[in-house]
C-alpha cells in the first residue's frame, strides 16, 4: 500500500521500451529488473527506460537503474532513458548515471539512431 509501481514492456523494431510509473525505490525496483531481464532473455540489445515525469524516485531506485546500466555495459547492451522530470534529469546526471545511460527529451528522440 505504501509504495506502488507499474511496469510494462513494449517493442518498437529492435528496441524494448520499459514503461515505469509510480514509486521507483529499492522495494519496487525488482519489477523493473524483472522487465529488463525478460527483454534480455528475448535477445534484445537496445533498451529504453520510459519514466513518468510524476514519479517518485529515491536513491534505492537509482541504485536499481545503476545495476541495469552496469549490466548493459558488461553485456554490450545500449540503455537509454526518457520521460524524467527536469529534477530527476539533474539527479541522474549528478550521480554520473548519464555517462552510462543517456537521457533523451522524448521517446521519439531516444528511438532515433538507437
Amino acid at each position: 500500500m505504501n509504495q506502488s509501481l507499474e511496469v510494462a514492456v513494449r517493442k518498437q523494431g529492435e528496441v524494448a521500451l520499459i514503461d515505469i510509473k509510480g514509486d521507483v525505490t529499492a522495494v519496487t525496483g525488482e519489477h523493473i529488473e524483472r522487465a529488463y531481464q525478460q527483454v534480455c532473455g528475448e535477445g534484445v540489445n537496445k533498451v529504453l527506460l520510459c519514466f513518468d515525469s510524476g514519479s517518485y524516485i529515491n536513491s534505492g531506485g537509482i541504485a536499481i537503474i545503476i545495476g541495469i546500466a552496469a549490466d548493459g555495459k558488461e553485456t554490450a547492451r545500449i540503455i537509454r532513458i526518457t520521460g524524467l522530470s527536469p529534477h530527476f534529469q539533474k539527479i541522474f546526471s549528478m550521480v554520473g548515471l548519464t555517462k552510462y545511460a543517456e537521457i533523451f527529451p522524448s521517446e521519439q528522440a531516444a528511438l532515433a539512431q538507437f
Partner: protein, 142 residues
Amino acid sequence: MPGEKKMELHVPSVLGFEKVAMDFAASVAKMMHFPEERIENLKTAVAEACINAIEHGNKLDATTSVGVTLTIEPSKLSVDIQDQGSGIAEPPVPDIEQKIAGKDKTRGWGMFLIQSLMDEVKFESTPEGGGVVRMVIHLERD
C-alpha cells in the same frame, strides 16, 4: 526568535512513509514561496534522510518513529530528521565508476544527494544518542 514557526511531524519507521515527510516539507516550502526547482531538491533530501532514519537509524522497527521538525525562519527553512538509533557515521563519497564496474554495491547515494541538494547539512546526535540530520535550505540561492 521572532517570526520563527516550528512544526513537528512523527511518522512510523516503515518504508514509504518518507513520502509523507517529503510532502509535508514541500507543503511548507510552497507556503514560503520557494521556487519549484528548490522544492524538488528539498523533497529529495527530506525523503533520503527519512529513508536513512528508517533503515539505518531505526533498523526498520515499525514500533519506532522518525521525527521531522521544520522551522520557518525569515529567509530559510531548517529541517531536522531524527531517529532512535545510535548516531550517524559519515560515509565515503560514492563513486559511480566503481559501482558500474561491480567493485562496489550500487546503493550508497542518499547522503551524497542530501549534501549536494541542501545549502547546509550537519550530522549530530540527540541527547538520547539517536541520529539527527540537520539541514537548511535558503529562500534565495547564494
